[in-house]
Each structure stands twice: as C-alpha cells, then as structure tokens.
C-alpha cells in the first residue's frame, strides 16, 4: 500500500501550489500514472479519498490518466505500445534492443482551483 504515501505526496504538492498561488481550494487533480510505475490506480483513488479529508482538497476529484508502456525498437526502427507492464522484446520483430519511452510516469499533471 505505498499508494498511501503517493496520495499523501500528491495532496501536499497540490495544496502547497494552491496556497502559494493565492487560491482557496482544489476541485480537480489530474495525475499521469505509468502502467509500469508499480502504482495501482484503484488503491491510489482509495487512499486519496481517505487522505484529502479535512484539507482544502477535501472536495477534490482525482482523475488518473494511465499511461501505457511504449518504446522504440533499435532493430526494426518501429515504435510500439504494449498492454503489459513490462517489455521483454520488441512485439513487432522480437528484437531485444529497445528503448522504453513511457510507462514509468508518476506525475501530478495539473489541477483546477478556486
């Protein structure tokens, strides 16, 4: 359940920025979570609901954009996207030399404040 730590961090970042910029509260927080990041979206949503109580984010809705694992194959020079949370070889040519471009994200993207 490291999602509790992640939820706590993202709420802190959002509240800090909200106060610094002179706003009163947060309505929406949007995060980008890579499928290979090790974070389970449902657990994060659950932890967020528990952690936001009593803060200026208590009415906030958390929107999770799941980012698939994608990369570029050095053999066939094609980009690929997979359903799994890992890549062992290029799904197009089977080559084992590739670069991963997305899937490890753990970012707080934007928020809506009032």
């Amino acid at each position: 359940m490291h999602e509790v730590s992640i939820a706590q961090s993202l709420i802190e970042i959002a509240i800090d920025n909200c106060i610094k910029q002179g706003y009163k509260g947060i309505e929406v927080i949007r995060v980008k979570i890579g499928k290979a990041s090790g974070v389970v979206s449902d657990s994060l949503l659950f932890a967020f609901e528990a952690m936001k109580a009593g803060t200026i984010a208590e009415k906030a809705v958390l929107i999770v954009d799941e980012i698939p694992v994608s990369g570029f194959c050095n053999s066939c020079k094609m980009t690929f996207t997979v359903e799994e949370k890992y890549v062992l070889s290029c799904p197009k040519c089977g080559g084992v030399s590739f670069r991963l471009d997305t899937g490890r994200e753990l970012n707080i993207d934007e928020m809506e404040v009032f």
Partner: protein, 214 residues
C-alpha cells in the same frame, strides 16, 4: 482556474535521497538497499555477509521493519552497529526515515552501510533512499514466475541474490527461467546463487560487494 504542475509526485523523497547520497559520499561510506519479499532471507544474508567481511571492512546496518526489533537483535549479536526503524504499518522505507537515523552512526568510520528494507516485493522499489546500489533477494522457493509478476524491483536493482538454493532438489522451480526473465527485464543485473543455510555461494557475493566498497 486550471493550474499546470507537471511535477513528479515523489519529488520530495527524491530530493531528500539526493541529499542523503551526498552525505554518504562525503563520509566515504558505500550504501546498499537490500529488498525482498518477507521471508526470502534478508537478515540471514546480512548475517552471512557480516561474518564473511568482519575484520576486512567496517559495516553498519539499518533495519527496516513494520514492527519489532528481532532483526536488529540478530545483527547486534555480531557486534555490528545497528539501528532499527519501525515504520508502524508503512510498507517501505523512505529517504526521510534514513535521514532521521543516519546521525546515530559515526559515518566517517564506516566503509559499508547496509539498509534492510521492509519485506515487500513491490513498494520499496519505488522509493530512493540515497543508496549507491539496490540489491534484491529472491528465494528460489518463491517460484520462477516472480520476475514477470513484480518487474519493477528487478529493473531497479543492480544485483539479484537467489537464496535457498539448498532447497532446489525439493522444488519444481525452473531456476534458468528465473535467470532468463530477470536478465530480460534488466540485462545489467548481476546474479548470485547462494544458500544462507549452508554458506554456498556466499563468498562470490561478498567478494563482489567488497570490490565495490572503496
């Protein structure tokens, strides 16, 4: 009103980890973060490692557990400085917990600091502590499907210690598949096969570890 943030959620942890790393580097101590599921044999590996390297390099240990100090007591018996961190339910150590206990050691008088993380094959992989190297332990009895089920820890680690190889005759585990999948996830992974019970393979592991410690 929309506010763009585009910030890594673990930025605060990574910042403290970077500070820890600098403190350790300045003190000249090499730090490893040992991770595994519960019961893979982390504390047994630490005991074997300390016994093998005593008198050659100066070692201290940070023990991370949800509760209790059983592991720290085992290390203390080997006359090795040890600090116990109890996370009180938390499933991993984070950089700030390390920061809070690091002053308990005379860092300048150490060569190697071993951090034993909370037993968990998922969460610890996500949190940098300021270590020089992550090492993961997997006991062969856990099964050869583990690399592909828990890829992140295999990808984050520099070394994989396969423990309990004395149990090989009693299991159906395919150790070659375990090695192959681990290396596919992380081609740079250094793999050791050991038995903390019999001591087999331990010196290969400790020789390598010692070569990394300045």
């Amino acid at each position: 009103m929309k506010v763009k943030l585009a910030t890594n959620i673990l930025e605060a942890n990574d910042r403290i980890a970077a500070e820890n790393r600098k403190i350790f580097k300045d003190a000249g101590v090499f730090v490893i973060n040992v991770m595994s599921g519960p019961g893979a044999g982390k504390t047994s590996l630490l005991e074997r490692t300390i016994q093998e390297l005593t008198g050659k390099i100066r070692i201290a240990v940070i023990e991370g557990d949800i509760a209790g100090s059983d592991d720290a007591l085992r290390i203390e018996k080997l006359n090795t400085p040890v600090v116990q961190i109890n996370t009180g339910g938390g499933c991993h150590l984070d950089a700030n917990m390390i920061r809070e206990v690091m002053d308990d050691f005379p860092l300048k008088d150490l060569d190697l600091l071993i951090i034993e993380n909370v037993g968990n094959l998922v969460c610890p992989a996500e949190f940098n502590l300021g270590e020089d190297m992550k090492v993961m332990l997997l006991s062969i009895a856990e099964g050869h499907d583990k690399p592909l089920k828990y890829p992140l820890m295999f990808q984050e680690s520099s070394a994989l210690v396969l423990n309990k190889i004395d149990l090989l005759p009693y299991t159906d585990v395919d150790i070659e598949k375990m090695r192959k999948d681990s290396l596919s996830l992380n081609p740079k992974l250094k793999i050791f096969e050991v038995s903390c019970k019999t001591g087999k393979g331990i010196s290969e592991w400790t020789d390598w570890l010692k070569s990394l410690v300045k």
